[in-house]
Structures are given as structure tokens and as C-alpha cells.
Symmetry: C2
């Protein structure tokens, strides 16, 4: 059972609210306003290593939630933080809160609540750090978008460059040997993702559907295709990547760029007649974007400029895939 099937089977129920589970954010109407709400949980050893810089962890715990708000085009407003910690270490807490509040201050998002609890020991070993953040933003009701609003013939765009965060993991696992400068750059991409909040807001009224790329480009594109009831054609050569990434061995490069995960860039759809307006929005907030393909009536995903076709290595990341069912 995959993570997505697991969620669907037990937790998805019809809701009266505007938008529930299965999108980057829930959308709820409050009087004449609409709020976007999202919650992400980070676990030691699953999402970060025990020796992670706590400042980057504080940053990332908030960043991944702001990235969901960005997909919804929301302006961040406030967040709640719940942490389970094996001990109250002042140095760790100082760095963690500094990293978190730096990003929070930059994005105008205030910490308003949460919970702190002791992580229980496991068989005599310190329990793992677990961090749960819920972020709340405001969207414009006239320009709501989720994953399912796209139409056939629309362009597919992505922001930034993909794959460096995944390459940092491969480097850490010894699957590749990067030179020191590139390794540092990749690790920085992994640990300090920049949520595309300004771009998300600039695309209000322009993008018809959007998602943040956290599980890998093709995995997240599959969500947009499914929710919009469409297929897609992507030119693999156009998917943006850093210059040093182009020097990486072909198979690893395509896995990182097309299915790497942890990118926290935006993937969005928009009608071709809005290309100029979209490029202007990108320039206005100084975040590069690239047109990588098209949504199609014909179902399924076709990859152009890629000799191998789509195989298991390109499926989106899934915590529970292949998990013991017992």
C-alpha cells in the first residue's frame, strides 16, 4: 500500500469545506475571506539526519509548509509549531528557533501556538525529534486554485532548478562523488529550501492549477494530471537544472531532476495566451520559470527527449511503498 492509498482509504471523507485532503492546502471560507491551511510533519532519519544543522531544520520545517501555501497562492499569515524532543537542549533550541524565525519574519508569518513534548525513549535510546508545523494563509477568493483546475492544451511550467536536493542525498549515500563546492551547493538546496511564496501570489489569476514539487516532478505532475483528469507531455530536456548537474552521469541525473523530491519549486499550469503575463510575474518577483510541456486530452504521461521512458526509478517518493503490511 502506498502512502497515498493509505491516506485515501482511512482519512478521506467528503467535506463541506471548500477544499479538503488531497491538495497542498485545505481551503475554508471565513465570512467573505478564504484561508489556506496546511500541515507537514518532519521526522528524524526520515526527513532529516540527526546531525542536521538545527538552524536549517527550523527553516525547513516552516519552509515546506510555506511552499504549500505558495502553491495555493496564499499570503502567509501565521503558523503553529509542535515539537517532540528527546531533551531540552538550549543550543539546539536557540539555533532551531533562529532558523525558523528568520524565515517567518521574511515572509510575515507569525508563530501563534503549538505544543512541546518530550520524545519518549525507545528501548533505552533517545527518541527521535519530530516536528509538526501548521501554516495558515489568506487567498483571494477570485483566484482560487488547487491541483485540479487545469485544462487540455495548457502549458506546464516549473520554477527554479530541480534535482540538486536529491543529488545531495545521493552524494551522502555514496552513490556519486561530487566535488566539494557542488556538494555544498546541493546540500544547501536540500537544507535551506526557499518557498516560492512571492511567485505563488504573483501567479494569482494566471495559473489554473499549481502544486509544490516535494515528491519529485513526475510524481507531483501525476497528482495534477489525476485531479484535472488530463494527460501530459513533458520535454525532459527542458526541465531546468543547474549547470553542474548537467555534468552528472545520465541515469542519476534524470532520476534526480525528474523524480528527486525535496525541490520545493512550483509546478503550475496556465493557458498559452498568458505566457507574457506569466513571464512578467516571474521577473517581478525575480524567480526564474521554465515552460516544460503541455497538458493533453490523451491520458498518461509522455516524455519527449528521453530515450528510456518512464520506469520505476522515476516514481514519486513514498514513505510507505513496499512497507510491511503486517
Amino acid at each position: 500500500m502506498t502512502e497515498f492509498e493509505l491516506i485515501a482509504r482511512y482519512f478521506v471523507r467528503p467535506v463541506r469545506e471548500r477544499q479538503g485532503i488531497g491538495d497542498d492546502c485545505a481551503l475554508i471560507d471565513v465570512g467573505d475571506r478564504t484561508l489556506a491551511i496546511t500541515s507537514d510533519l518532519l521526522s528524524e532519519n526520515t526527513h532529516f539526519f540527526p546531525d542536521v544543522d538545527p538552524a536549517s531544520l527550523g527553516h525547513k520545517a516552516l519552509a515546506v509548509n510555506l511552499s504549500d501555501l505558495a502553491a495555493a497562492g496564499a499570503r502567509p499569515r501565521c503558523f503553529l509549531l509542535s515539537v517532540s524532543l528527546p531533551r531540552a537542549d538550549p543550543d539546539w533550541l536557540e539555533a532551531f528557533s533562529r532558523g525558523m524565525f528568520e524565515l517567518a519574519g521574511r515572509e510575515g508569518c507569525e508563530l501563534v501556538g503549538g505544543d512541546t513534548t518530550r520524545a519518549p525513549r525507545v528501548a533505552g535510546h533517545p527518541g527521535p525529534v519530530t516536528i509538526s508545523v501548521t501554516a495558515i494563509g489568506e487567498v483571494e477568493r477570485s483566484s482560487l486554485r488547487g491541483r485540479g483546475g487545469a485544462r487540455a492544451g495548457e502549458d506546464l511550467w516549473v520554477s527554479g532548478e530541480l534535482g540538486d536536493a536529491a543529488l545531495a542525498v545521493a552524494n551522502g549515500l555514496g552513490q556519486v562523488r561530487l566535488d566539494e563546492a557542488f556538494a555544498r551547493a546541493c546540500r544547501h538546496r536540500m537544507e535551506w529550501p526557499q518557498p516560492r511564496v512571492a511567485l505563488g501570489m504573483a501567479l494569482r489569476g494566471l495559473a489554473t492549477a499549481a502544486i509544490d514539487i516535494s515528491d519529485g516532478l513526475l510524481g507531483d505532475l501525476a497528482h495534477v494530471m489525476e485531479r484535472s483528469g488530463l494527460g501530459a507531455c513533458v520535454d525532459a530536456r527542458l526541465v531546468p537544472r543547474s549547470d553542474p548537474m548537467r555534468g552528472i552521469e545520465r541515469a542519476l541525473q534524470r532520476r534526480c531532476v525528474l523524480a528527486g523530491g525535496d525541490d520545493y519549486e512550483l509546478l503550475f499550469a496556465a493557458p498559452p495566451e498568458r505566457r507574457e503575463a506569466i513571464e512578467a510575474a516571474s521577473l517581478k518577483c525575480c524567480i526564474a520559470i521554465t515552460r516544460i510541456g503541455t497538458l493533453t486530452e490523451e491520458p498518461g504521461l509522455r516524455l519527449v527527449g528521453d530515450e528510456q521512458g518512464i520506469d520505476a526509478t522515476l516514481r514519486g517518493f513514498d514513505h510507505f511503498a513496499g512497507a510491511a503490511q503486517a
Copy 2:
């Protein structure tokens, strides 16, 4: 360092929002409406045992958050659930979601989002279950209340009966031997707390301050005293408890009733002239309430009808008290 000092030192910053950290709920204004938002995290071995009935765990994870909304007088609206699980066990998930959705349905509160992640193994052992719930409700702007709105001379009230949940823990630890029927009743109180949502709403415009009793009566009363800048006088004999509790040995009984924790009853303050209206509100929603004391100009807490005075055994529960600082 206690949990509360820890939170204060690193995470409390001034906020523009109406109410931030340090209360049961954050309050944020959205247009002409006000939302109450709260987040609580439950960890295996800290908040529940590995062999807990998953249905009661699903219930309790939501109930403790609805209890915070009740303190704020909010009408529950929706919630987000993030869970870290060692494996995807269908039986466990079925029972957990059933317990959660039963309460959610009863209180009109919809699951709209969240996150599911695999709990990492710790030194070869399955990682702990961690559950984080964020609940959102609507409050009436004309009757906002937090912990800090009470005045000297006002009555102190509590709902329900206190101490049974704490007695269940003492029984589990072998500190007392309860007869089977009472043990079962106490365990039920611990595992299936009933959030006082209806009472919380019925007290709109009547209670000047309220808190839900999760850390023990005196510990939570201390928060109200501190935030309201007042002292209090409580008649220990008046604090409501179940009949079988009255048969329990004196020292354990006072510890459970006055400082037991996990009660999820409401403690609230109100002017004496509202006594009749408050009793009518209690009858209307069929939740018993008891007047236990008074708020005073004179700082500090005085206990009447208790020969021992306040000692360390009566301090509120604190996950990090006495924790290793290293």
C-alpha cells in the same frame, strides 16, 4: 528548566494577531470573524501506552484539541491530522480513524488536511507513534475569552469530576489497587475524555476567563492567576470527584484530584452575579459544574479545607521538569 520556561524562552515573540502562544488557542481575526486555533501533539509512551486501544487514541487525539477550543468558547469547524507511524497497519488505522471520526462527526468538525509519514526506526526498534492535531473553530468576537480576563472577587468553577484519569495511571503503575469496576471507569475517563464543547459555547458572555484542565487543576489555575494577575482561594473539599474516588487513600486522592492531569474539564471564572445564568447554562447542556473558590487581589494560592498545604506533589505535570540539560 520546565516545559513552560522552555517554550517561553525560545518561541514566544510578540505577535500582531489577537492572541498567540500561552493560551489554549491562538485567536486570529479574519475579516469580521475570529478563529480559534490550537495544536496538540501526542507521543507513544509519553501520552499513551503502545497497547492503547487505537479507537480511543483516535478519539483522544482530537478530543484534547476540542477541549482547547471549548476553553475559548469556540464552535469546532475543521482539523488537520499529522501522524508518524512505524508501519501501515490496516486494523490499527481502521480503529484509529473510527474513534476519531465518531467524535468529529458528533462535534461537527471535519478533517481537511494533514500529513502521514513513516516513523523512523530507532536502533533497530520500531519508531514511536506520534500524532499531531490542529483544530480550528469560530468564536464570537463579542465574547472572546482567554486565560487572562478574570477579575478579583469572581467565582472559580470547574466542570465534571476531577482525578479519575490520574488514578487510572496510578493504578496502572501499581501505586493503588482499584476494584475492577472502578479501574475500568477510571481507564475510560483517561482514554475517552469528553471535551466540554457545548459548555464552552454556553458560557459565551458569562465566563471571563477559562482554561481546560490538562495539567492538573492547580497547575492550570496557576496559569489563569498569572495571566489575570490575581491570587486565588480554593476550598479543596469542594473540588468535585467521583464517589469511589472518596474512598481512596487521602494523599493519593488529593494528588489525583488537585493535580492529576488529563481531566479535560473546564476551569472558568465569572462574576458572582452570573451564578444563576451559569447554572442555567450547565443544565442546558447537561454538564455538571461546581463552584470551588474565588479569585483574589492577594497574590498566591490558598487552599482551604486541606491540612497539608501546597507541596511539590501538587505541581502541574511537566514533561521536561528535571530533564537533563545536556
